[in-house]
């Protein structure tokens, strides 16, 4: 008590600061109505996520073969497979454990709701005598299936161990592996989005300002080209030109730089350059077209005419009056773009052999690594849903006339 009394004025101060920043934060994201809207959207996302879990779960388990006898692995004796399945709970029924499935969690007994006695060993060494403790644990046999066990664990943020042969021997958890690989994908994605905006917006502005001139045509030709050259073409071409012929960048990362994360070194930039270029070019094309269309529309508005009529210089009209409003539709694609970037890196990762999430997913599907498939798809879904919510928030930020009430 004495300690808390001495720090009391200080802690009150801290409390006030927290309250102030909280209310300021609420105001910043658009007031309480926005908060309620956000809350409702997040609530609505929960059943969607559950349904996606179910779909992915069923689909991944429908794949022929299992994690212990997948194609390309050493054949294991039957008893070993059985033991492994028991260890990872794959011997349980898939969706619902009915009596007919013949899986009885407690000996021969099967009840809808019942108790199970669990025996723990306690004590030993410094903790005293060894003795056994019996615990009565509530059990619902109907739900003792692979699916509900997975959902239950996932709600506790336990996504299980990876079943891939290379990882399960070291007891690598799915969340561990994902947290190692996700930053790699994010590095590529974020830099590609940045590049997309850095190239796309000036290009779109130029095209709109010099509407129907050679500059416009050139910019739009670049945009259409950027949209027409897929990554599986652009990637190898970039490798051939810059890595093989010119030798400016290494073909693949030999210093494990991807895993170690971003740093301000020439080598990192070299590693980053080609994948980001491949991914960002297509994006910048879309952004350039959107910027141009939006700016052209704004330039016909009345207030732009007013600005011109009162004698402002053309540069001021465009960059101060028009561009700000023209950016609204452009900014709103950040949400879907960030979500799309993750699936976009998929392609680029495979071409440039980057050890990111897309590579993990393709490997896990091939190895029938159920837990990893589930983990990665859930993560993608969360990103997608978050991206969609972000778009709605962006709208209200940028255009105060839109309200979610």
């Amino acid at each position: 008590m004495a300690v808390s009394e001495t720090t009391n004025p200080n802690s009150q101060n801290v409390f006030m600061i927290i309250r102030k920043t909280l209310s300021r934060a609420v105001d910043m994201i658009g007031g309480t109505s926005m908060l309620i809207f956000l809350f409702r959207r997040i609530l609505a996302a929960i059943p969607v996520l559950l349904a996606i879990t179910l779909v992915t779960f069923v689909l991944s388990h429908l794949l022929p073969g299992g994690p212990f006898n997948a194609v390309g692995q050493r054949r294991m004796p039957e008893y070993l497979i059985q033991q492994l399945e028991e260890k990872f709970g794959l011997n349980k029924p898939l969706l619902v454990n009915t009596w007919n499935d013949g899986y009885f969690p407690d000996g021969d007994d099967w009840r809808i709701i019942g108790y199970r006695t669990e025996v723990h060993t306690e004590g030993g060494g410094a903790r005293g005598d060894i003795h056994q403790v019996e615990n009565e644990v509530l059990r619902i046999d109907l739900l003792d299936s692979q699916f509900f066990n997975y959902v239950w664990d996932a709600l506790h943020l336990d996504f299980g161990p990876s079943l891939n042969v290379a990882l399960r021997d070291q007891n690598v958890q799915v969340s561990e592996e994902i947290s190692k690989r996700l930053p790699v994908s994010i590095q590529v994605g974020v830099f590609a989005v940045l590049l997309g905006f850095v190239i796309g917006i000036p290009l779109g502005v130029l095209a709109a300002v010099y509407h129907n001139t050679l500059i416009d045509y050139g910019a739009m030709f670049f945009a259409v080209m950027g949209q027409s050259v897929p990554n599986i073409v652009l990637g190898p071409i970039l490798i051939i030109i810059f890595a093989v012929e010119l030798g400016w960048v290494p073909v693949i990362d030999q210093q494990n730089q991807w895993r170690e994360g971003p740093e301000l070194s020439l080598y990192y930039l070299k590693i980053l350059a080609l994948p980001v270029l491949a991914l960002g070019t297509g994006m910048s094309a879309g952004i350039a077209r959107l910027t141009r269309a939006s700016l052209l529309q704004v330039l016909h508005e009345d207030y732009v005419r007013t600005a011109r009529a009162k004698g402002l210089r053309e540069r001021v009209v465009i960059y101060v009056h028009a561009l700000k409003n023209a950016m609204i539709p452009v900014a709103t694609i950040v949400g879907p773009l960030l979500a799309a970037v993750l699936t976009g890196t998929f392609v680029v990762e495979l071409i440039f052999t980057i050890p990111g999430l897309g590579k993990v997913f393709v490997d896990s599907v091939a190895a029938r690594d159920y837990t990893m498939i589930m983990g990665v798809s859930l993560l993608y879904s969360i990103f997608l849903i978050a991206g969609n919510i972000l778009v709605d928030i962006m709208y209200t930020w940028l255009d105060p006339r839109i309200r979610f009430d």
Binding site: I52, V224, P230, I232, V362
Partner: protein, 383 residues
Amino acid sequence: MAVAEGAEPISLEEESIHKSANPWADAWHMFRRNKASVISLITIIVIVFVAITATFWTKAGLIDARTGAKARHTINPVNQTAQDAYPDPGICARDGQGQNPYWCGWLDDESLAVVQDRYCFRAAPDVNQKQWCYVLGGDSQGKDWLSQTIYGAQVSLSVGFVGATMALLVGLVYGVISGYYGGRVDNIMMRIVDFMYGIPYLVLVILLQVFFTEIAREYQDSERGGFVGFVLDLNQDMGGLLFLFFALGVLSWIGMARLARGQVLSYREKEFVEAARAVGAKDRRIIFVHLLPNIMGPLIVAETQQIPGYIFTEAFLSFIGLGVQPGTPSWGAMISEVRTRGGFFSNRHILLVPSLALVITTLSFNFLGDGLRDALDPRLRGT
């Protein structure tokens, strides 16, 4: 509509047959003014023609690229390093094997006889034997790269057209029902669409494709009758395309459904619909006669702009080996050989030929989409 009015006198001058300027005639004249789109349309028509008549064009190259039956032959790696095991088309010319500047061989009636020198196949000793050339080089199984590219057009085009048509039809029906009837129906239908929006497209497509390819592979070993067997047979004959259509189509319609619903909502309360309802028109008549003609333009435009996306997805899936069945020529699968055959360092034609085909096709569809947008969707003109 100033543009359309401006276009009208031109149309009367050029083609006096036109009775009146109906919206489609207007659209056609608008479309014709965009040169890039017209060129693209012609390009697409040429590609479609070549793809349909693929067997005719590849007869000269003699390879049945679909089965590769006649073409399989081994290449003895005598005096060869790994890198030049599969010669570039240009190497023959440099080595001067006489008359044949290409990677050439000859064919007996049934079997393929190849005599190979250090880089080249020698010219046929017998004049009566048919000559054949790999104008654009060959692949690791000795199949002609040009023939495969031509056959690859079949896959890409059918994926683009079927994908777009399916998405348009399903999305249109779904969106029109949802938007027209509104209320609880709309609410439930749109919740389903919202749910599907949360599913990562590529993840689902990859899972489905792995499932389908494995099923198809198992089927090759065992006989199966009934409907399942029929579908699997059909898929086998189509080189895996049937399941690919399905996998691509599962999620592709949801964007179209949203767009169609929005369009219907914006037209449902318009005066002309109200007038039709007032004179006692039934729902079916209102939808088909009054709503559909008005909303079709933007929907077709949106779907045309999606076609390159389907082609890209197919190419990517084939690139990672989850697209068409192995042995079916596809541009994505052809590009993937770049990795397995050291195409980064030599044999650049491996990359160049299918890439060019892919880019030209998608470029044409993109320009076509722009032209169609200008022609059919006056509000978006010039954007």
